[in-house]
């Protein structure tokens, strides 16, 4: 999960994605690559259970089983938190490769690497061993530009690219607000797709449910009432190969009841 720009919803999306895969029975690990600015554990609501972290495992100070936190709500889901006291230089290519190999050997089906913002070491390490990349973009010009830059790096700075291949790219648009698109404040879906030319895997509508979920440490995908939760679920299904139509793209027509009493 990568984006270039910060604050677009990578960690929220990583948490939702990992939870959605685990809910379908896949053994899933989600790794926080944002060493020094650890957030994933908060979003996943396991911050009080962090003993060892990703950097401890890389440095051989703890083994993987000690550091992996088993999610309390969802079976098959494990979190590998980042270190808050170190910096991204602590991530070595060999170290990261070893952790990923060990997870695969431990029969994990999916490993979600939650990239930090930027294009420096943390982001480089999160993308290097990837098979698939989900590019998280907000419908505004700077986020789209940064995603474009990341797409360029994905073509060259991954193990697959170095071996002459390429990784699969998926575009996930978050914080999509049809009202603001209609009023011209936000880029429309077509504009974003035109600039980035990457297959679309999901559009997550802007929703109060996301902030609420983050603050309470519950991945938003578990909130089946919220539009964002349902859109994340669609995204996971598409990733697994199902054909699911996109929804929440149009301005919701307010019924007479809502108009009279407010929404």
């Amino acid at each position: 999960m990568t984006s270039g720009k910060g604050g677009v919803g990578k960690t929220t999306s990583s948490a939702a994605f990992a939870t959605g895969l685990a809910l379908r029975g896949y053994k899933t690990a989600v790794i926080d690559f944002d060493v020094g600015l650890r957030n994933l554990d908060l979003i996943m609501g396991c911050e009080r259970r962090v003993v060892y972290d990703f950097v401890n495992v890389i440095n051989g100070e703890a083994n993987l089983r000690q550091a992996l936190i088993k999610d309390k709500r969802t079976d098959n889901l494990y979190i590998l938190p980042a270190s808050q006291t170190r910096d991204k230089e602590a991530l070595t290519q060999e170290g990261v490769g070893k952790v990923l190999e060990d997870l695969k050997a431990d029969s994990f089906d999916f490993i979600i690497c939650d990239s930090p913002a930027g294009i420096e070491r943390g982001a480089a390490m999160a993308m290097y061993y990837a098979d698939d990349a989900v590019i998280v973009t907000n419908p505004e010009v700077s986020s789209v530009r940064d995603s474009d830059r990341i797409l360029g790096l994905l073509q060259s700075r991954t193990e697959k690219a170095e071996q002459g291949g390429s990784i699969r790219e998926h575009l996930l648009i978050t914080r999509y607000n049809p009202e603001r698109v209609e009023s011209g404040d936000m880029l429309g879906l077509e504009d974003v797709l035109d600039i980035l030319a990457v297959p679309l895997i999901g559009v997550i509508p802007e929703s109060g449910g996301v902030l609420q979920a983050s603050n309470s440490g519950n991945p938003v995908i578990l909130d089946t009432e919220s539009t964002a939760g349902r859109a994340y679920d669609d995204f996971v299904r598409r990733f697994l190969g199902e054909t699911v139509p996109h929804r929440f793209l149009e301005v919701e027509k307010k019924g007479i009841f809502k108009r009279l009493f407010g929404a």
């Binding site: 530009r145 474009d148 830059r149 797409l151 360029g152 790096l153 060259s156 690219a161 030319a197």
Partner: protein, 248 residues
Amino acid sequence: MSSQAFELKGEMSLLSVLLLSATDMSEIQATLDEKRENAHQLLDRSPVIVDCQKVSEQAAGLDFVQLRKMVAETGLIPVGIRNLPEALENTASESGWALLRQGHSRVRATTLPEKTEVADVANADAVDSGGDNGGGADPVQRLRVVQRPVRSGQQIYCPDGDIVVMQQTSAGSELLAGGSVHVYGALRGRVLAGVQGDKTARIFCQNLEAELLSIAGRYRLLDDIEDDLKGQAVMVYLEGEKLKIAPI
């Protein structure tokens, strides 16, 4: 603050490099004379960097004051010198030379990792690894075909040939070709054709939204382009000194 007379900005520019392979002053003079005979128009008033990479061992034999004078008399503008042994940096500096850190390898470093799919892999490798030893036996790449979109931050460089992009290019990308450039998609980045001075080079694209268009050093920015040409399929070419854009 806005009343300042100028802004100091860091910028990458294209410069010619004079790569020395001898330190004998009369030999250098002879070669300069010869170049002036053959290509005086091309050399006229162009800024140049002197590179001592190949002669750094014998660089002590160079007369820096004399060298500066000779280069200037040929009609070139000596901008700076690079790849000197540290011991000589002071001497060169006192003779009026600007000392430049080696930049060539960095230019290529940004080109190299973005190795996009290319029609002829053998040729692509030759171009990507060549260039540092100047005029070796490497086959020259005449065409570079790029199959994927050229993204922001990527640079495609084909110093001696044409570039063909089968998809779009993004704002913040750069295409540099010694020859012409063809883009079969939206052209949104910067594009510089004829970077070695070829005035017959042209640029073709399906959808003109380029940030900058340049042929043989004459350039236009998107803001200078007539609105009715934006978004159109166009051909860009030089007519005399003027950069022309025509719909196709």
